[in-house]
């Protein structure tokens, strides 16, 4: 757990003239389950999007596995927020999960039997096997989240980046997702997860990044998860 698999150096991101991230430095430890915690408007989603190169920063750099190129992004599986998806799209659960395989295929190649098997086993992990031919619009919120995690598993990436995966889902799914994440950790995967519920941080995560535009505290959960740090992040800046 000593290698830094993602490094963010002195990152500044701004929307027009509004700085969303300010001189942010952080490192994601390999094989960790790291929470990103902070108040609304702290730039959590912006940080993720900058790592995924969906936003161009004003300054600073992001290193993934020691590389700055777009190709390094193949090492990352991204689990979106629910609202970003067109739920009327005519497609089945299995089909969505198979989309995870396209990263490994040339664009013109069709998925083969092996891809199907990988997708099916990912569905099995998420206990969604029986739903494989369901249309996605018929799924509940929790089931949708399971499907997206299954798609990420299919990508067979080393790093999982998730934007509030536990928001608005049932408790069974929450437990299942956490269980899956922990067992994937055993296989050597790394997780960076935007998390909302402060009560469960200690239970679910082993590392945390507490941020508000820049990093307040980061590191091992035992060291950083203190009342002082949390207060610092959630209190208004500028007064001090």
């Amino acid at each position: 757990m000593d290698k830094d698999i993602i490094k963010v150096n002195d990152l500044i991101v701004a929307y027009d003239d509004e700085p969303a991230i300010w001189h942010l430095n952080m490192a994601l430890k390999e094989n960790s389950i790291t929470a990103i915690v902070g108040p609304n408007g702290a730039g959590k989603s912006t940080l993720i999007k900058s790592i995924m190169q969906l936003i161009k920063p004003v300054s600073g750099e992001v290193w993934i596995n020691g590389s700055k190129s777009r190709k390094a992004l193949k090492e990352i599986a991204y689990v979106p927020q629910k609202g970003e998806v067109n739920w009327d799209f005519p497609t089945t659960v299995l089909d969505v999960v198979m989309m995870g395989r396209y990263v490994h295929k040339g664009w013109l190649k069709r998925p083969n039997k092996k891809d199907r098997e990988i997708a099916m086993s990912a569905l099995r992990v998420m206990k969604m096997e029986a739903f494989r031919n369901r249309q996605i619009s018929e799924l509940s919120g929790g089931q949708r989240q399971r499907v997206f995690l299954a798609r990420a598993i299919c990508q067979n990436a080393g790093i999982y980046i998730m934007d509030e995966p536990l928001q608005g889902i049932d408790i069974t799914t929450e437990k299942l997702i956490i269980k899956t994440i922990k067992s994937l950790q055993q296989e050597g995967k790394t997780f960076l997860i935007v998390h909302h519920n402060l009560d469960t941080v200690e239970e679910y995560f082993d590392h945390a990044v507490i941020m508000n535009k820049s990093v307040i505290a980061a590191g091992d959960i035992q060291d950083v998860w203190t009342k002082e740090n949390i207060d610092k992040a959630y209190m208004e800046m500028g007064a001090g």
Binding site: A14, D16, P19, W22, S59, M237, G238
Partner: protein
């Protein structure tokens, strides 16, 4: 000729006052549907009356207009087809039916689809009616009455229209029948569309319903202001359209619709918080932000003096850009230069202090 202008103005006022609520309810494209399908109503009514001048034609057309709205709603309620797709399917089907009925069974009468779509307001004064001993164009009489009816409708149900346009759920909760209001509105829309399109053509009817409202909507927020300003733009569009059409000998309806778009675009681009002003503002803000960031960087201990090369690397700026930024900062007295290294002045340091407060960043 002045009668033509009056017909245009009255038609634009009668339509656009209802248009306000159509735009607020995101029902603008429904007017597109209605304006096309009333052709079917006219054809069907013509089959019954066999008289192209019969007032029944107007009633038939309005009925089909309401039927169109009802059909679209009915399809939406089945949840099988998306709202916008059902509008597109319903109006094309009914319009196609009308075109075939005309060419198959009514080819011998004067029901020129081209005129229906394009309209010819110049002919409006030819069809006259006696009212209280005065001879006035029939279109003017009809549209005048509709203007009064529509105005009265908006005045009487102002509160209901307002609430059900902005917050239909709330309207439902506090006990308004949003459906009733909706169908009353759409019935008036259909009748007005029919009366107006007889005078100005289907395309200009759509334009009258939406263009003045959208232009006003760019400027004001309050509903009552929106209504007044809409009326103003309706009169402006019609008058300019009339003048241009008259002087250049162009289709009055076509000219008015074109003018409406030009006026919308002018307002869109040049209003105080319009596209151009915002673009300029954004550019200035971005420049100021870049200044602030360069200064704040130099405020850090490890960057107390910097070379242009360091700046351009740090912010991924091109060399000319960096040079321009630093020159401005030097002229304004925020930095001083010694050889090719820059450092903050006292003024520059103060500036970074205020920047941090402005951008909500913690003190260094």
């Amino acid at each position: 000729m002045i009668e033509v202008l009056i017909v245009l103005i009255i038609a634009s006022l009668a339509t656009s006052i209802l248009g306000v609520f159509l735009v607020l309810r995101n029902q603008a494209m429904t007017t597109d549907a209605i304006s096309h399908t009333i052709l079917l109503g006219i054809v069907l009514a013509f089959f019954i009356t066999q008289d192209i001048r019969s007032p029944l034609l107007i009633i038939g057309a309005a009925l089909v207009g309401v039927l169109t709205v009802y059909l679209i709603q009915l399809i939406n309620q089945t949840d099988l087809i998306k709202n916008d797709a059902s509008i597109g399917i319903v109006f094309t089907a009914l319009f196609a039916l009308a075109v075939i009925l005309i060419s198959r069974y009514a080819d011998h009468v004067h029901l020129d689809i081209d005129v229906v779509i394009a309209g010819e307001v110049l002919f409006a004064p030819l069809n006259r009616i006696e009212v209280f001993g005065f001879s006035i164009p029939r279109a003017l009489w009809q549209l005048g009455i509709l203007l009064i009816v529509n105005g009265a409708f908006v005045a009487l149900f102002y509160k209901e229209l307002k609430v059900s346009s902005f917050d239909p759920k709330f309207a439902y909760v506090i006990g308004f029948s949003t459906t009733l209001i909706y169908y009353m509105l759409m019935t008036l829309v259909s009748i007005t569309a029919v009366a107006a399109f007889d005078a100005v053509g289907a395309i200009l009817v759509i334009n009258f319903f939406v263009a003045p409202v959208l232009t006003a909507y760019l400027i004001v927020k309050r509903l009552d202001h929106l209504i007044y300003l809409t009326a103003l733009f309706a009169v402006l569009n019609s008058t300019l359209g009339y003048l241009i059409g008259y002087n250049l000998d162009l289709s009055m309806s076509g000219a008015t619709a074109s003018v409406a778009f030009i006026i919308f675009t002018i307002v869109f681009l040049f209003k105080p918080d319009g596209y151009i002003v915002l673009k300029i503002k954004k550019r200035r803000q971005r420049k100021e932000f870049m200044h602030a960031m360069i200064l704040m960087l130099m405020n850090e201990d490890e960057h107390e003096t910097v070379t242009p090369g360091e700046i351009s690397r740090h912010f991924s700026l091109t060399e000319p850009e960096t040079k321009k930024q630093l020159e401005t900062l030097e002229v304004e007295g925020y930095v001083t230069r010694a050889e090719d290294r820059y450092r903050l002045t006292v003024r520059g340091e103060e500036f970074t202090h205020y920047s941090r407060i402005k951008y909500g960043l913690k003190a260094h």
